[in-house]
């Protein structure tokens, strides 16, 4: 009787042991698979970048590539107009998106009453962040190009990309404003500051780092964005530069460049990539490597800044 009991419990223990063994094996197996997946993702990023650099190497190391206009011959084609175009478009994007985005975020965090009207604005911001970028291109085509008659100009492209990154700037600014404790505001009010002064001299000042992070990430997104700029009708073959924004003779500033037609880096890359000849693919790879390098650098700076801010500022 008791022998049987012992035998059956021994059997139970054995089965429990195999069960534990299996569970532990599964645990290790999943650990390996997980690690494999993570490595796979990281390696993909590396391969993507290396592939572009290796394919584009002949042009990346060729100085003329940066100072030549596009050409029908792949070896003589260069990036100059795209580099200038991208810089000017980014200037317009920065000037249009940053003040409006930061202003909107300040309003939503500091001023907005809690009612249906604010709710509508918030839902809109969330929705805009999820709208596909090409839809912004269609908006710009209908609104800026034909209704406002800006044409396919640097101004149109800059404003389009500005609208595109607006939600990014708004969300980042709101987050960093929210991190500032109420005590800071109360202290400012206590010495007689008005709301405008509290916001301008304290809230915005202390959240500047977080706002800058959002702006950098937004600008990085705008530099690499292709679809909306194609939709507004950017040209791919630009063999001239827009008028310089700054001159040595009065009035020193001119705004004719705003209405100039243009091309940007990703569009130049797209047009080279769409050609069947593999000589142009070298150019495309070189352009791609430059775009990736710029966006990765900007993102890396922003991410690093965010981590530093989180570490450094302890309000209590």
């Amino acid at each position: 009787m008791s022998d049987q009991k012992v035998a059956s419990s021994l059997k139970d223990i054995d089965s429990v042991r195999t069960m534990i063994k299996r569970a532990k094996f599964n645990d290790h197996l999943f650990g390996m698979i997980g690690l494999l997946c993570i490595t796979l993702i990281l390696i993909t990023l590396l391969i993507l970048f290396m592939d572009l650099v290796i394919d584009g190497f002949p042009q990346l190391t060729n100085w003329d590539f940066y100072s030549n206009f596009p050409s029908r011959r792949a070896a003589r084609a260069g990036l100059l107009s795209a580099l200038v175009g991208s810089s000017l478009v980014m200037l317009v994007t920065f000037v249009s998106a940053v003040p409006i985005g930061v202003g909107a975020a300040i309003y939503l965090e500091e001023y907005a009453p809690k009612n249906w009207f604010t709710e509508i604005i918030e839902v809109n911001v969330t929705n805009l962040a999820a709208v596909p970028s090409i839809i912004y291109g269609l908006l710009a085509l209908g609104l800026f190009v034909y209704t406002f008659d800006f044409g396919n100009s640097i101004l149109t492209a800059g404003l389009t990309l500005g609208l595109l990154i607006l939600p990014i700037v708004i969300v980042a600014t709101r987050e960093s404003i929210r991190a500032i404790p109420v005590a800071i505001r109360e202290a400012a009010y206590a010495v007689g500051a008005t709301k405008g002064q509290v916001v301008g001299q304290h809230v915005v000042k202390y959240s500047a780092g977080g706002i800058l992070t959002g702006v950098i990430i937004g600008m990085a997104r705008a530099i690499g964005e292709t679809a909306p700029v194609i939709t507004i009708g950017a040209l791919t073959f630009i063999a001239f530069l827009p008028e310089a924004p700054i001159s040595t003779t009065p009035p020193f500033l001119n705004f004719e460049w705003l209405t100039s037609s243009f091309t940007v880096l990703p569009i130049q890359m797209f047009s080279w990539l769409s050609r069947p000849s593999s000589a142009f693919h070298v150019n495309a790879a070189a352009a791609g490597a430059i775009i990736i390098l710029v966006t990765l650098l900007m993102n890396a700076v922003a991410i690093k800044m965010r981590y530093n801010i989180r570490k450094k500022i302890k309000w209590q």
Binding site: I217, A227, P266
Partner: protein, 315 residues
């Protein structure tokens, strides 16, 4: 004491009206700041209204020319040909097929990566990998297009020799790679939000990390995980450059990923690259296609939003 009384006296001595005037100016300034900031915030509403207005207005002109029944049932999309057909289905089928391939790749990889990061990885690994995932999410899509056309498709052709240069499989996988970081980071956030006490309960019963992850953490975080999948679908549908470069631009009513096909986004790019006159039917057709795209992504965004809200478990 003495100084205090002198101050009081001096304030009483001065007339009160300049102070009121200063207050008045200050109040006006404060109001102006508030109104200006509100206008900034309203720009988001204006943008949405403008998007809807433009899409609907141009599509309206399109649907005066093409009947909605044709638009939805015709199985050819050739607005730029002599023999024009306006059936959106080939574009929708291409869009859905590519999104399906992308999700088939991204869901397993993204979920496993999320579970690993949230439940298995050491603090140090997590803090290193998460920023890199954010970096991957910031890579411009045009670079992924190059990757799809000149690296992934040739590799796939080694496995499937009959695969054409332009196909839906390669770009689908590449879009999958693109949305993996998104799925991983959103799902990981959802899993990290599951309270530690639930894990501790599971471990106390003798469960392994894998058992805890599969039977406790994942079910508790499922609403967030599914929302991540749905939002990833919406991203895959709206993705433009990868498909415009690597999927070919022939509208093709097929669900076979080995074929070449065009998506809604690729069609818009194709038309925009050409030189269509403003107001022509081809010009209006991209707005009709854009409206369909907008409705599709809106559907998935709203679905994702409600999944996250409705099935969120409160702890």
């Amino acid at each position: 004491m003495n100084t205090a009384t002198t101050v009081l006296k001096s304030t009483q001595g001065t007339t009160i009206s300049p102070r009121l005037a200063k207050n008045f100016r200050r109040n006006i300034k404060e109001r102006l700041i508030e109104i200006l900031l509100m206008l900034c915030a309203l720009s988001a509403v204006f943008t949405t209204v403008a998007i809807v207005a433009i899409l609907v207005y141009e599509s309206f002109a399109f649907f005066e020319f093409v009947s909605i029944v044709d638009f939805l049932t015709d199985n050819q999309w050739t607005p730029l040909f002599e023999d024009a057909h306006y059936g959106i289905m080939p574009l929708v089928s291409g869009t859905l097929t590519i999104s399906f391939v992308a999700l088939a790749f991204a869901v397993p990889v993204g979920t496993i990566a999320a579970i690993y990061l949230s439940e298995f990885a050491s603090h140090k690994t997590r803090e290193t990998v998460k920023p890199i995932l954010e970096l991957l999410a910031g890579v411009p899509t045009i670079a992924f297009g190059y990757f799809a056309l000149l690296l992934v498709t040739p590799l796939l052709q080694m496995v499937f020799p009959e695969l054409p240069t332009f196909n839906m499989l390669g770009p689908g996988i590449v879009i999958g790679i693109m949305v993996v970081p998104y799925i991983a980071s959103v799902s990981e956030d959802a899993m990290r939000a599951v309270p530690m006490s639930m894990r501790e309960g599971s471990y106390a019963m003798g469960a392994t990390r894998f058992q805890t992850a599969m039977r406790v953490v994942t079910p508790a975080a499922i609403s967030g995980i599914i929302a991540a999948y749905i939002l990833a679908i919406s991203r895959a549908i709206g993705e433009t450059m990868v498909v415009a470069i690597a999927a070919g631009q022939q509208p093709n009513l097929t669900f076979n990923p080995m074929d070449s096909a065009a998506t809604i986004t690729a069609y818009i790019v194709q038309v925009a690259m050409g030189d269509l006159p403003h107001g022509s039917i081809g010009y209006q057709s991209i707005f009709a296609a854009g409206l369909v795209l907008m409705l599709m992504t809106l559907f998935f965004n709203v679905l994702g939003h409600f999944t996250r809200k409705k099935f969120r478990e409160a702890y």
